[in-house]
């Protein structure tokens, strides 16, 4: 009977394709939109992810997320270094400064100041130059995307020449020489990232009493990180998070205070409703069109249980094919745009989410069809 069910389903190609396309669309929307959402959310803490060496981030208690820098006094660094369980602690400057380009335009950049001695927190992948080149005077390292786009030179004919090693720019009226190009993860703000030493970054920055953005801490081997964060907070009065906690705090801020989740949630919900309505209606119409065939099978002695299994199999079949195509299309979408500015991240949880969504649609479609077939009077087959 299962073979018959599948033949009935695929026998009418246009209807079969219609149902599958409805479910493909629903699966695609339910996968692609959340994948973009997850990608954007991942960008909010990509800077924390890129800095893999420190275990703990120490900051002003009022800081709400990674880009919300509230400087603390430089002396706090020494207090943190004195806390038991701290292997090392280094300063990190993070701030937005305007860079003046060769054509006279200004571009806001995310300037990162690394510990002068260790350069901890520097980019892991250098495309040109070396991290150690930051020890040269006026030196900066620029991220690849920034160098190729917002900081690139634009010739009168419109030709774009990426910033390269040896080029110069001005940061707050101070000369900076590019000594390296690095590959970094895109950030939520999508501004060019400029790495330099902590002391040089603070000289670029407008003069303020406090300039230290974060203190990066490495815990001693065997030390409990949670305990250490509590100890740092207790002794210094500053807030200390493990890297994972700081990511959660950052993402929590964006979820709570921006319209991003609701906007993407609406897209996903709309896709789900349209997909469910399209697939459900088409599947129901398919059942209605085949009602006479189900009536014939019923008259010939097919039980309601067998018919139930046939319809569930049909729903499972279109669900599986639609889900596979939808998820495949979403994956392809992400793959083709992997080098673009599009934020796209596809964790396994999204497969479960869209799979659950498609299952709900299929069960819903099957239920309304099953009800119709269960109530079907087999005597309809005698009506010409």
């Amino acid at each position: 009977m299962y073979y018959t069910a599948l033949k009935m389903l695929t026998g009418d190609r246009s209807k079969y394709i219609g149902i599958v396309m409805g479910l493909t669309f629903a699966s695609f929307i339910m996968t692609q939109q959340p994948a973009i959402f997850v990608g954007i959310m991942a960008r909010t803490f990509s800077f924390i992810t890129d800095l893999s060496q420190p275990d703990i981030w120490v900051m002003d208690p009022k800081v709400q997320f990674i880009d919300d820098t509230k400087p603390i006094q430089d002396t706090e660094l020494y207090r943190v270094r004195g806390v038991e369980g701290v292997e090392w602690a280094v300063p990190l400057y993070k701030g937005l400064l305007k860079a003046r380009l060769e054509n006279g335009n200004f571009q806001t950049c995310n300037v990162i100041g690394l510990d002068d001695a260790t350069l901890i927190g520097g980019p892991a992948v250098m495309i040109a130059g070396k991290l150690e080149d930051l020890r040269r005077s006026d030196s900066v390292i620029v991220d690849l995307d920034g160098a190729a786009s917002k900081l690139a030179k634009r010739l009168p004919g419109g030709k774009v020449i990426p910033l390269k090693v040896g080029d110069t720019l001005e940061l707050n009226d101070k000369r900076a020489t590019v000594v390296g190009i690095a590959r970094t993860s895109r950030t939520f703000q999508s501004q060019p990232v400029i790495y330099t030493t902590y002391s040089r970054a603070t000289s670029f920055a407008p003069r303020e009493r406090k300039l230290l953005s974060f203190i990066l801490v490495k815990a001693k081997e065997g030390a409990d990180r949670q305990e250490l964060t509590k100890r740092i907070t207790k002794i210094t009065g500053l807030t200390a998070y493990t890297s994972d906690e700081f990511k959660s705090v950052t993402i929590g801020y964006y979820l709570k205070y921006t319209g991003i989740p609701i906007n993407f949630g609406m897209s996903v919900l709309l896709g789900f409703i349209i997909g469910a309505a399209t697939a459900g209606q088409t599947f129901y119409n398919f059942t209605l069109d085949n009602l006479r065939q189900f009536g014939v099978l019923k008259a010939m002695g097919t039980t309601n249980g067998q018919l139930l299994k046939m319809i569930l199999l049909q729903a499972l079949m279109v669900g599986s094919v639609g889900y596979g195509l939808g998820v495949g299309a979403a994956s392809l979408f992400g793959y083709l745009l992997r080098d673009s500015v599009l934020a796209f991240k596809f964790p396994w949880q999204l497969l479960v989410l869209s799979g659950t969504g498609v299952t709900v649609i299929c069960i819903f479609s099957a239920l309304i069809s099953i009800r119709k077939v269960m109530k079907l009077e087999p005597a309809i087959v005698f009506k010409g």
Partner: protein
């Protein structure tokens, strides 16, 4: 069609031994709708059909022929009276028993053929066997043999849309025979066919369907095929008005 139940006025054939009867209906009444709007399709039908007999039910549209064979085939429950098929009272069977009984003992030939369009001729003809739990491969093999017997052994892999009306009806007949049922009910089996094809289908039905234990009940208003019947019952207004052995005896 009247909206009142009246007593039966005609009994079928003079009954022989009950064991010789394939179908015995007594006072069968069936209505559609409720209360005042209830329309009576059958108003106390008494009918006996012998085993091995080709029995025709004839009469004008709406006289209750189709309702009566639906009751006989166990796909419709009567409101009153009894209907025994091979001594089984289908009305008092549990739902699943009735479905199983129908699957094993009754074959159907429909006016509109009702073949499943996505299945080949052999697969269509094999459906009753598959419903009865026979493996698909074995069922299709047996169905192909029956298709050969009804004269379309060379079209086993054709889809219904690729077959003529007569060929489709042959597939339907093969489907009605494949599981070796004891009773075959046919609803207007020739109404969609031209005279020549209709006659050939009836010859085929009579040749392959009838044996001593198998019975055919055919609903028709196609007077051209009356001559194939062993007996004919004329229905009108939900009752059997007349049962005759020859078309010439029918009152019009």
């Amino acid at each position: 069609m009247s909206n009142q139940t009246e007593p039966a006025v005609n009994v079928g054939n003079a009954a022989t031994n009950a064991a010789e009867l394939a179908v015995k209906c007594s006072g069968v009444a069936k209505g559609y709708g409720v209360d005042d709007s209830k329309i009576m399709a059958l108003r106390g039908v008494d009918l006996e059909v012998n085993k091995g007999e080709l029995f025709m039910l004839v009469g004008p549209s709406g006289c209750g022929k189709t309702t009566l064979i639906s009751v006989i085939a166990g796909i419709l429950d009567q409101d009153a009276g009894s209907c025994r098929v091979y001594e089984h009272d289908l009305l008092h069977m549990a739902g699943h028993e009735k479905v199983r009984y129908r699957a094993r003992n009754i074959g159907f030939v429909f006016q509109a053929y009702n073949l499943l369009p996505a299945l080949t001729a052999a697969e269509n003809a094999a459906m009753p066997l598959i419903i009865n739990g026979v493996k698909r491969k074995e069922a299709v093999k047996r169905a192909s043999e029956i298709l050969a017997e009804v004269g379309i052994g060379d079209r086993t892999n054709a889809l219904p849309a690729q077959l003529s009306g007569g060929q489709q009806q042959r597939v339907a007949i093969a489907r009605a025979l494949v599981h070796n049922p004891r009773l075959i009910v046919c609803d207007e089996p020739t109404s969609a066919l031209d005279h020549e094809t209709g006659a050939r289908v009836m010859e085929l039905l009579k040749r392959v369907a009838l044996d001593h234990q198998r019975t055919l009940v055919i609903v028709t208003h196609d007077a051209r095929i009356f001559s194939f019947a062993d007996r004919i019952a004329r229905m009108d207004d939900g009752r059997i008005e007349q049962v005759v052995n020859s078309p010439a005896q029918l009152e019009h």
